[in-house]
């Protein structure tokens, strides 16, 4: 009884806090930044076209997860749709916060999303990964790319880096020449999500992974993991002082300002690099899929996906909106608003690809097709935090790389209960 009262109180408070949305036909929770702005604009178009009321609630990145999780845990029904970063999907789905979309597809007379979507974009929307029912639809096609200053790399004797050894060779030479004001490589070393995000592609490129295939064993502390860690530490040694606190903004700024020659980052930085008001490197930054280690390179996928909250009272309306927003026509409009697409037809649309600002599309499409999702586990935020602490310690030099792997293995085993 007390619990029900408490829950009712929490729900009422949340509902009052977002009172404007309480009267909407569909309420969507979106992140700040271009992804959220794109969907907000689409929602406004939809509202006008269908003469319906669509409200968008915008929050900073971390708060989107918190607000979505809170709404799910309290069954508040405050939000009908949540625009989710893909590593959150297992948490939301396995805790019963998301609606299984199977019956809605049947109602619409289709089996599921059409084959124009990229296969990797669809795979992350199923839970379990690539096999279970659809719990969301892909909207923004993010996957990391490798950015580099081709002229500087050429000066350092590397034409187009294909492997991490190539990157290290060029980066070493450029940092040595840089005299403490210019660096060959830069990465996100900030504790938690940033350092994990920039380590995972290297980890995968050396054949390592966090779990075995059926998720019954933690496999961080392995020879493959050690090889990846060795390369990561070598790259750290040619990076600027202070990367221990860097996030995507600092990395992107270093590249745009021409103080660093290469890095891993998200595709939305292409626009910044090509904007003369924000970049000294217009037309000078090249991009490629993630370089290879001992295995082919693989970037981290970071799609933004739309899911219907299980407690939503407007599920059919929400599904109709999601289907409309993810049509090829709308994904193309979204691409023009700055969000990478998730459909082959948009990636290859000549109207877009002939424009300079979309010249990275072939590489990005290749990167998505070669991408890997972050380990699909409902406790991923906790796993990422533990792994991020150990990586941060290794980057800061307070423990050895070997200790970082050993400690991460133990921490993730404890969190997941796998031994």
């Amino acid at each position: 009884m007390v619990r029900k009262f408490c829950l009712a109180f929490a729900v009422t408070a949340s509902a009052l806090a977002i009172s404007a949305s309480a009267w909407a036909d569909i309420t969507i929770l979106v992140p700040s930044g271009s992804e959220g702005d794109g969907l907000r604009a689409a929602a406004a178009d939809y509202a006008k076209m269908k003469n319906t009321k669509v409200e968008t609630v915008q929050a900073p990145y971390a708060n989107v997860f918190e607000q979505g999780a809170n709404a799910g845990a309290t069954k508040s029904g405050v939000f009908d749709i949540v625009l989710m970063d893909d590593p959150w999907i297992p948490f939301f789905a396995e805790n019963g916060h998301l609606e299984d979309l199977t019956s809605y597809f049947k109602g619409a007379g289709v089996e599921g999303p059409d084959s124009d979507f990229l296969s990797k974009s669809l795979a992350i929307c199923r839970n379990p990964y690539n096999s279970g029912p659809y719990v969301c639809l892909p909207y923004v096609g993010n996957a990391q790319m490798f950015f580099y200053d081709a002229a500087k790399f050429k000066e350092a004797g590397v034409e187009a880096p294909k492997t991490w050894d190539d990157v290290l060779k060029a980066a070493k030479a450029l940092t040595e020449q840089g005299g403490g004001r210019y660096f060959g490589y830069v990465f996100r070393g900030g504790q938690g999500n940033p350092v994990v995000a920039d380590f995972m592609p290297i980890f995968w490129s050396y054949g390592a992974d966090m779990f075995n295939a059926d998720r019954t064993k933690v496999t961080i502390d392995t020879p493959e993991g050690a090889a990846a860690m060795k390369m990561f530490m070598a790259l750290r040694d040619v990076s600027p002082k202070g990367v221990e606190s860097y996030n995507a903004n600092e990395v992107g700024t270093a590249l745009a300002a021409g103080t660093a020659a290469s890095s891993i980052n998200w595709p939305n930085w292409v626009a910044t690099f090509e904007d003369p008001s924000q970049s000294k490197m217009v037309g000078k930054i090249s991009f490629s899929p993630i370089p290879a280690g001992t295995k082919p390179g693989s970037s981290e996928i970071g799609h933004w996906t739309m899911g219907i909250m299980a407690a939503s009272k407007n599920k059919q309306e929400a599904f109709d909106f999601m289907m409309w927003a993810t049509t090829a026509e709308q994904i193309k409009i979204s691409a023009e608003r700055g969000n990478p697409p998730v459909r082959t037809s948009v990636f290859t649309d000549p109207e877009l690809t002939k424009q300079e600002k979309f010249r990275h599309y072939p590489v990005l499409m290749e990167a998505i097709q070669a991408s890997t999702p972050r380990p699909r586990h409902p406790k991923w935020p906790e796993i990422e935090n533990a792994f991020g602490i150990e990586l941060s310690k290794a980057v800061a030099g307070t423990i050895t790389p070997e200790e970082a792997l050993k400690n991460s293995q133990a921490a993730v085993e404890q969190i997941t209960g796998l031994k």
Partner: protein, 304 residues
């Protein structure tokens, strides 16, 4: 004064009116009590209730009663120990520096502040800024490659530093930003305290030939004791809740060197979706704050 018959007649009051009159004081208190119940008592009781349960993020799973289980976890949680140690270091160093600087500034400027009242306003600015704005400002100052601090270091021929990214400097950098923001608070309280000091004891001490230092030690400090106690108490309580600066500047890193209790509680509650354990940690912080405050007030004899 004569009264007419009509005005002199006493109107008979109904039972509701009589009841209202009898209970008026309670009725006037009721809104405050209700607000307190809703905003303080209810959340506190709810926090106690949550702290003794394991709460799943899945709403279909019942809350599991674990008794003192969440509190027992505190003993064996290394991240909690790190956060506790960092919070203690931050609180002791930051509050001590703020106190010494605030008191020093107040003593220095006490005589001139009336003539230079604009100076007081300028010194107040950091305190009036929202913490998030302060954090972002310092993030820009500390930025390793483009930050103004490293530009100055470079111009002076000194080695540039990763202020928020170096394990040995990160906590120091956060303390500096906090000292910048909150020293004015201590300064303001001390200034008010100095303005209220009696003149006679100082005149007597001067006649006896007491040095300035003697006067400060034997008169000013004892007179200021209640103000100092309040200032330190408020700052300690606030320092124990440090969040914004750490969240923006370092995210708890590098290598966990700046992870403080508030940040860890936030992570556990919202990122790891474990509100029961977070409630237990919050209660621990509340307990520490109450114990510290009580001890401190007794020590400073504030109650007298």
């Amino acid at each position: 004064m004569l009264q007419t018959g009509k005005s002199a007649s006493v109107r008979r009051r109904g039972p509701l009116e009589q009841w209202t009159e009898r209970h008026l004081r309670y009725l006037m208190l009721a809104p405050t009590v209700l607000i307190l119940l809703a905003l303080t008592i209810f959340p506190s009781v709810y926090m106690f209730y949550a702290a003794v349960h394991r709460i799943s993020p899945n709403p279909d799973l019942p809350w599991e009663f674990v008794g003192i289980g969440n509190f027992a976890r505190l003993i064996s949680d290394p991240q909690f120990h790190v956060a506790l140690r960092n919070t203690a270091v931050f609180t002791i160093v930051a509050v001590t520096l703020e106190f010494l600087l605030g008191l020093g500034l107040a003593l220095l400027l006490d005589r001139f502040i009336r003539r230079l009242s604009f100076l007081k306003t300028v010194l107040m600015i950091p305190m009036m800024l929202p913490p998030i704005a302060v954090a972002i400002t310092w993030k820009l100052i500390y930025e390793p490659q483009f930050g103004v601090l490293n530009e100055v270091m470079f111009l002076l021929g000194l080695p540039v530093q990763a202020w928020a990214g170096d394990v040995n400097l990160a906590m120091f950098s956060i303390i500096v930003a906090d000292v910048w923001q909150w020293t004015p608070f201590i300064f303001l309280l001390m200034l008010a305290g100095l303005a209220s000091l009696p003149v006679e004891p100082y005149e007597a001490a001067a006649l006896d030939g007491a040095s300035s230092w003697r006067q400060f030690w034997d008169l000013t400090l004892p007179f200021l004791k209640p103000v100092i106690a309040i200032a330190l108490l408020l700052r300690v309580m606030d320092a124990l809740r440090l969040f914004d600066l750490v969240f923006i500047l370092t995210g708890g890193g590098p290598a966990d060197r700046t992870k403080v209790l508030s940040l860890y509680i936030y992570q556990v509650a919202y990122r790891f979706a474990d509100p029961g354990y977070a409630a237990a940690m919050s209660l621990f912080v509340l307990f520490v704050t109450i114990v510290l405050s009580t001890w401190f007030m007794k020590r400073m004899r504030l109650a007298e």
